[in-house]
């Protein structure tokens, strides 16, 4: 038996109001969509989802990371996700970067391997006024695949089809598309065919499906294809109302459907892009405790102005402050401290018990030189010891909220507090660690660090 043992969805906190977009660009808009914050990228969002999914799971052998907006090319982003998710060096980590279909590919690879972490994470944007900007969702999802699942894989099927519906040149902001009718003609029959194919393999009829996910970048093809099914099957995904999440969309949809599913339910998840992939799961008795995605407990959304959003995506560059260039972290130093930098692993002194952040050769409290125990801080909340707003920071979003944090059980670290735009801070406020970008230097090096965000009761 193989299937999904645990899963989680990460939605960034900022929300872009489409009415705000319309005020700038004209036209009409309503509702909001989640957008990655100024210090997030596909990698950091993937880490947030992966960390949450791994909390309820045992170790994995491999990691499969899918995104169409990879933070780096050539250099593996999966390796960063693995390090920041606390996975052992022995875990193989692979990237499926570029194609939307990588999301389905990562799931298939993970299920094939039998004991894997599947992470899909994406940012959806384009030129201002584009459909991707209006209808997309920045999100990540992670699924732990194993032999003791809450949703057992019953069957899967795939079709590959070569045609150009949408394409993006590496490095471009804009994704181009062919005319809409063409995509409908191409995609809708693929949906019909893959659903019949996979249900046939599973010896199931359409009526036996309880929850259906159809993930495709082509909005009109999706609405057309849906007409062939009972609309109630889409209830879970419709209720979430997130928008298309790119390479993460299939996994996000699957997680949302699983949240709504009960033991015995059949969940059919279909990805339709450059072909089609379908996965049929039957929910097991292990899935008795209700929703696991974390969506229900997500922090309060925070509005972001259209101007800030465009600035964050590099689409409305602002005159920078007269400040020295951002200094990039240097690779040898980052490699030496990989457990600290990426895993946020402190060292607890064996003599006095104080947690040293970062780890040191000589304990900062008692000067002991040996007996340190590595101690991961990722799930350790803390309190604000003092704080300030730094208008001279090199952070993209000003003022940078800077806090000194005293962690529960000992240890002090100063860092930026994120997801706190406009938030009133006070000494004693509860905070929790989160993996983010400190800066991107002129040489393109992305400085990933652990920051803190407001603590949630669910953390």
């Amino acid at each position: 038996m193989v299937g999904i043992e645990s899963y989680a969805v990460y939605l960034p906190v900022p929300r872009l109001d489409r009415a705000d977009v319309a005020r700038v660009l004209g036209g009409r808009g309503k509702g909001t969509r989640p957008v990655a914050s100024y210090d997030e990228d596909a990698t950091t969002m993937g880490v947030a989802a992966a960390r949450a999914a791994l909390r309820a799971a045992d170790g994995v052998d491999s990691l499969w990371f899918a995104t169409t907006r990879p933070a780096y090319l050539e250099k593996s982003n999966a390796a960063t996700v693995a390090a920041a998710s606390g996975l052992a060096e022995e875990v193989a980590a692979y990237d499926l970067s570029g194609a939307l279909r990588g999301g389905a590919g990562a799931l298939r690879a993970g299920l094939s391997s039998g004991n894997a972490l599947v992470v899909a994470s994406d940012l959806r944007y384009g030129l201002p006024g584009s459909a991707d900007e209006a209808a997309g969702a920045d999100a990540a999802a992670a699924l732990v695949v194993g032999a003791d699942p809450i949703a057992e894989l019953i069957g899967s099927a795939s079709l590959t089809s070569e045609f150009l519906d949408r394409w993006r040149i590496p490095g471009d902001v804009r994704t181009r598309t062919w005319e809409e009718r063409f995509g409908v003609e191409a995609y809708v029959p693929l949906v019909e065919r893959i659903v019949d194919d996979v249900l046939g393999r599973c010896d199931l009829k359409r009526e036996q499906v309880d929850h259906l996910v159809i993930s495709t970048p082509h909005a009109r093809a999706r609405s057309t294809a849906r007409r062939g099914f009972e609309q109630a099957l889409f209830a879970a995904v419709d209720a979430a109302g997130l928008g298309y999440a790119g390479a993460a969309d299939l996994a996000v949809g699957l997680a949302v459907a699983l949240d709504a599913a009960s033991p015995g339910d059949v969940v059919l998840a279909v990805s339709v892009t450059d072909g089609a992939d379908a996965f049929v799961f039957r929910v097991t008795d292990r899935h008795a405790n209700g929703p696991r995605s974390g969506l229900a407990d997500a922090p309060d959304a925070q509005p972001v102005s259209y101007g800030d959003f465009l600035n964050w995506r590099g689409l409305l560059p602002r005159e920078p402050a007269r400040r020295p260039d951002v200094k990039p972290p240097v690779p040898p130093a980052s490699r030496r401290s990989v457990a600290w930098k990426f895993g946020f692993v402190a060292a607890r002194c064996g003599s006095c018990g104080y947690r040293n952040l970062p780890p040191r050769q000589v304990c900062l409290r008692c000067s002991a030189t040996e007996g340190f125990e590595p101690e991961p801080m990722v799930d350790v909340p803390g309190r604000i010891a003092t704080f300030t707003d730094d208008w001279l920071s090199e952070s993209v979003q000003l003022p940078a909220r800077v806090v000194a944090v005293d962690f529960d059980g000992g240890g002090r670290f100063e860092c930026e507090m994120t997801d706190a735009v406009g938030r009133e801070l006070a000494i004693g406020d509860r905070v929790t660690p989160t993996f983010r970008l400190a800066s991107v230097a002129g040489n393109g090096v992305r400085n990933y660090v652990w920051k803190v965000r407001p603590h949630l009761e669910e953390d």
Partner: protein, 395 residues
């Protein structure tokens, strides 16, 4: 083991200080030459060849002693460059004093100079060692602004009252600088203007921050017994203290950002050397490191001038004003004199040189007994502090 006053006391017998400010038309060489020649001139017309050894303080304006020898054409002398962040000027002075006190040399100089305004930035760019990107990157005002909520919480004082005290300090130091021809900013600023300025970091506005300036200062130092060979009014050194903290406060939850322990430790050491038991009454005037207004506020407690948690009241009552019981930063301080890093510690001593010789003009303090100079580098929890005590009486 122990820290002691110099067995052989020393004295300053010549000093000079350039104007501090934005010297767009002068480089660090020009500034060092003016300060060095000026100090030699005030020591009875010595030449560089009469000086046996030099200590140069500079943080970012040059490396090695050659930064001083090249512009001055000093040849075949022991010349050492020292650096200890913003306490660099005091460090140059301290090491020069030790050298002459030890008997190794007869006449030495401490020279500090810095050229900041060629960097192109209005702040100070600290040299940094390549690293893994995890050390927190805060601006200097941000680091010092963290004092304010911490101090307010520790003593149960509303932040608004602390801001009033900060505004008073900025107002006072601008007023003092207006009376100093060498200061960078020579204009009084109304409290309303200071209080209304937009924030740069926490509750700090630009008026709470020291000026970024170019400048240099220099001192000629000899053994106290030789001082009158060079001048009728030497400035005697009673204490030289330096305290470097472990730099761990920002990673130690025992540290609460409301104090500057290195400053109090260096002051204690200095008071012991000078035989001072009640600094609040025995110190007649003080030049302290007002890099930011909360720094000066907290320093009043660290140096023993105010009770813990009460400095803000003393500041607001005018105790540290020019006409108060203990004038602090009567030359304008870093706030309005400006802060060329390597020069500032020596600039502070230069004010003492003027005050104890009765040459401070409209800033003159009547009959000063002891003068204290406190100069620090780093940030709360990660600090070095130097305290020097001087007077016109031979120890």
């Amino acid at each position: 083991m122990g820290s002691h006053a110099l067995t052989t006391p020393v004295a300053v017998v010549g000093m000079a200080c350039t104007n501090f400010g934005e010297h767009w038309d002068r480089n660090v060489d020009d500034l060092l030459v003016e300060a060095t020649h000026g100090a030699l001139g005030s020591a009875g017309g010595l030449g560089v060849g009469d000086v046996d050894a030099f200590w140069l303080g500079s943080m970012i304006s040059g490396v090695s002693g050659l930064t001083l020898t090249r512009p001055l054409n000093i040849a075949h002398k022991p010349v050492t460059r020292v650096e200890n962040m913003c306490a660099t000027g005091s460090e140059a002075f301290r090491n020069a004093c030790f050298a002459v006190s030890s008997g190794a040399y007869d006449v030495v100089m401490a020279v500090g100079g810095e050229k900041l305004k060629d960097a192109g930035y209005s702040g100070l760019e600290m040299p940094s060692v390549p690293n893994d990107g995890t050390p927190p990157v805060l601006s200097a005002p941000a680091m010092y602004s963290m004092i304010v909520p911490a101090y307010a919480r520790r003593y149960g004082v509303p932040e608004e009252r602390i801001k009033e005290a900060m505004t008073h300090i900025a107002w006072k130091n601008h007023g003092n600088g207006a009376r100093n021809p060498r200061a960078q900013f020579r204009r009084e600023v109304p409290k309303e203007t200071i209080a209304a300025a937009p924030a740069l970091a926490g509750r700090l506005s630009v008026f709470d921050c020291s000026g970024v300036a170019d400048g240099a200062a220099a001192a000629v130092i000899v053994r106290a017994e030789d001082a009158h060979r060079y001048t009728d009014s030497p400035l005697y050194v009673h204490a030289l203290a330096l305290d470097a903290g472990s730099g761990t406060g920002r990673n130690d939850s025992d540290y609460d950002y409301s104090d500057l322990a290195e400053a109090s430790a260096s002051a204690r050491t200095a008071y012991a050397q000078a035989g001072i038991t009640d600094p609040a009454t025995q110190i007649s005037l003080a030049e302290v490191h007002d890099c930011f207004t909360p720094t000066e506020l907290v320093l009043m407690e660290e140096l023993g001038f105010s009770e813990r948690g009460k400095a803000w009241q003393d500041v607001l009552s005018g105790r540290y004003d020019r006409d108060g019981a203990l004038p602090v930063n009567i030359d304008g301080g870093l706030k309005s004199f400006g802060h060329p890093i390597g020069a500032s510690g020596l600039r502070m001593i230069y004010e003492m040189w003027l005050q104890f010789r009765g040459e401070a003009g409209e800033r003159q303090v009547a009959d000063p007994r002891f003068g204290l100079v406190q100069n620090q580098g780093g940030s709360p929890g990660d600090l070095v502090s130097a305290v020097t005590i001087v007077s016109d009486r031979r120890p």
